[in-house]
């Protein structure tokens, strides 16, 4: 199980090197301060924290949507293009499905390829494959509004996967879904991640979700947004129903929960 082994030993060069990153919005909000984080090749990293601690901000900075106010985000192993930007191959899944309502599932998934100048005919198979990968085979002709919330989220994931990204950034992708759908999508995501050998950075505010999915959890605190603790979850993959009910999983949840509580200002007052 290479996916299980990989995160436990520190590779010499991290995939993404985040050094002393801070972000202050023009309104004066210190969204992030002093973020140091080395994202390892092939790991499943969760950013866990209370609302407003800067998780989305950090993820967007990693994606290159916006500049940090201080510090650097480097991609040591990436090549750089003519404009001096790293050529990162990444997919982004937003909290909402963020689909184009006027386009079919096929066209939505085709979008990244289209923007890269690909012809529809040439990549039709690849698009169909991505749609099938998330379990939506047969829905290529449907419009987003004909789909359920969970199905739309799957389309969004297919769109991120169709470019075969090395890094998948996900911003609370399943937060709006019901428990059962979320578990199903969690299982599917882990399966795809293991098969695809990519790196996932996954934003969530659910202790249980992060402990189930991640090989490592970055627990964040608010005001200013910072990384309070890094928790390794060395349990082997594939993780399934048995893991979900195991004492080991419980222990990780407990530790993560405690770390999260410690970041809150009045730690003792909460249940």
């Amino acid at each position: 199980m290479d996916a299980a082994e990989a995160p436990t030993q520190m590779p010499t060069r991290p995939l993404i090197d985040i050094c002393g990153v801070a972000k202050t919005y023009s309104g004066g909000t210190h969204a992030l301060q002093g973020i140091d984080l080395a994202v390892r090749q092939g790991e499943f990293l969760s950013l866990l924290g209370p609302s407003g601690c800067g998780k989305s901000t950090l993820l967007r900075l990693i994606a290159g949507l916006g500049e940090p106010s201080a510090g650097r985000i480097e991609w040591p192993s990436a090549t750089y293009d003519a404009a001096g930007r790293p050529e990162r191959s990444l997919g982004f899944v937003f909290q909402e499905p963020t689909l184009m309502p006027w386009a079919t599932v096929f066209d939505n998934v085709f979008l990244p390829l289209r923007l890269a100048g690909q012809r529809r005919r040439a990549v039709a198979l690849r698009v169909e494959e991505a749609i099938a990968q998330v379990g939506l085979g047969g829905f290529a002709r449907a419009y987003p509004r004909q789909l359920s919330g969970g199905m739309r989220m799957r389309v969004s994931i297919a769109r991120a996967l169709v470019m075969h990204p090395k890094v998948l950034l996900m911003d609370e992708p399943f937060a709006a879904l019901d428990e059962i759908t979320r578990m199903r999508l969690n299982d599917d995501l882990l399966r795809l991640w293991q098969a695809g050998h990519w790196t996932v950075i996954f934003v969530t505010h659910s202790v249980y979700e992060s402990a189930f999915l991640s090989s490592r959890i970055a627990v964040m605190g608010a005001r200013p947004g910072r990384i309070a603790e890094l928790i390794e979850v060395p349990a082997p993959y594939p993780r399934d129903e048995a893991f979900r009910t195991s004492a080991e999983y419980n222990e990780y949840c407990r530790r993560t929960s405690a770390a999260l509580r410690a970041t809150l200002p009045d730690a003792g007052a909460l249940p």
């Binding site: 967007r60 990444l90 982004f92 937003f94 006027w102 979008l111 289209r114 509004r145």
Partner: protein, 267 residues
């Protein structure tokens, strides 16, 4: 058909027609009974007769008004969308164009008609009519399309940035589709306004090479030929209704797959 009460399909057409029929019968009866003179209120039968007798002249006038309306609408559509796209590309263009567009919009077309007439020359009244009708029809297209182009979902915009989309791709694949429902709503208003503009302009500026429906109405009024005036009015409102229905049809056709306004809900 309907959302909550399941009406029989034909009812939507039959009920208004029935009401119209009753009203017409009442009108006819009252005119007969009270012996209203025909230059005050002609009976529906008389109007129908006038419509039949003067069909030749009326249809020519209808065509003239229709032509100006259509041309004004198309010009307003092209210019409005072009300017909106331009101002969406640069904030500078937007803030420089908009005050003048608003000025053009708020100044009553009746007030600028004489000026336009002098500029284009009295021998080109057709052009004056076209310009005036275009001015009236132009603003809803511009303002609606501008709003639409700006209403792009922020996350989708980020997605386009992330995948390195160019300005052209962003316009074609993201901004224009987002703006489409807004544009169509603007077109619906503009279509009606183009007709109003064409009629008002003819009232103010007179008619060009041939007399449009507005001119027919003035002429009939001067001759106290009230039945023909009503006939011209009926044609005018029929034209307005057809334009509205066409726009509504276009809206439904283009948006039926995806936009909340046009999709039929299944429950």
């Amino acid at each position: 058909m309907d959302d909550n009460a399941p009406l029989p399909p034909g009812l939507r057409i039959i009920v208004p027609l029935l009401l119209g029929g009753v009203m017409l019968a009442l009108w006819q009866g009252l005119v007969w009974w009270l012996e209203v003179p025909k230059f005050v209120l002609p009976a529906p039968t008389l109007i129908a007769q006038s419509l039949y007798n003067d069909w030749g002249t009326l249809i020519v006038s209808l065509w003239i008004t229709l032509r100006i309306t259509l041309m004004a609408f198309v010009i307003a559509l092209v210019c409005g969308v072009a300017l909106a796209v331009l101002s969406a590309q640069s904030r500078l263009v937007e803030i420089s164009i908009f005050p003048y567009a608003v000025m053009l919009q708020v100044t009553p077309v009746v007030a600028i008609a004489p000026l336009i007439l002098i500029w284009v020359g009295l021998e080109h009244i057709d052009r004056a009519l076209l310009i005036l009708a275009t001015i009236v029809a132009f603003f809803p297209i511009l303002s609606n399309t501008t709003l639409g182009l700006k209403s792009v979902d922020h996350n989708l915009r980020d997605l386009f940035v992330l995948y390195g989309a160019g300005a052209g791709q962003r316009l074609r694949l993201l901004q224009l589709p987002t703006a489409l429902p807004y544009l169509l709503a603007g077109m619906k208003i503009s279509g009606g306004l183009a007709l109003i503009g064409a009629v008002v302009a003819e009232f103010v500026a007179g008619s060009g090479t041939g007399a449009g429906l507005a001119w027919r109405i003035i002429e009939s009024a001067n001759r106290l030929n009230i039945p023909r005036m009503f006939a011209a009015l009926i044609l005018l409102s029929a034209l307005g209704i057809v334009i509205f229905l066409l726009m509504a049809g276009l809206q439904t056709m283009l948006l039926r797959h995806w936009h909340e306004s046009a999709v039929r809900r299944e429950r």
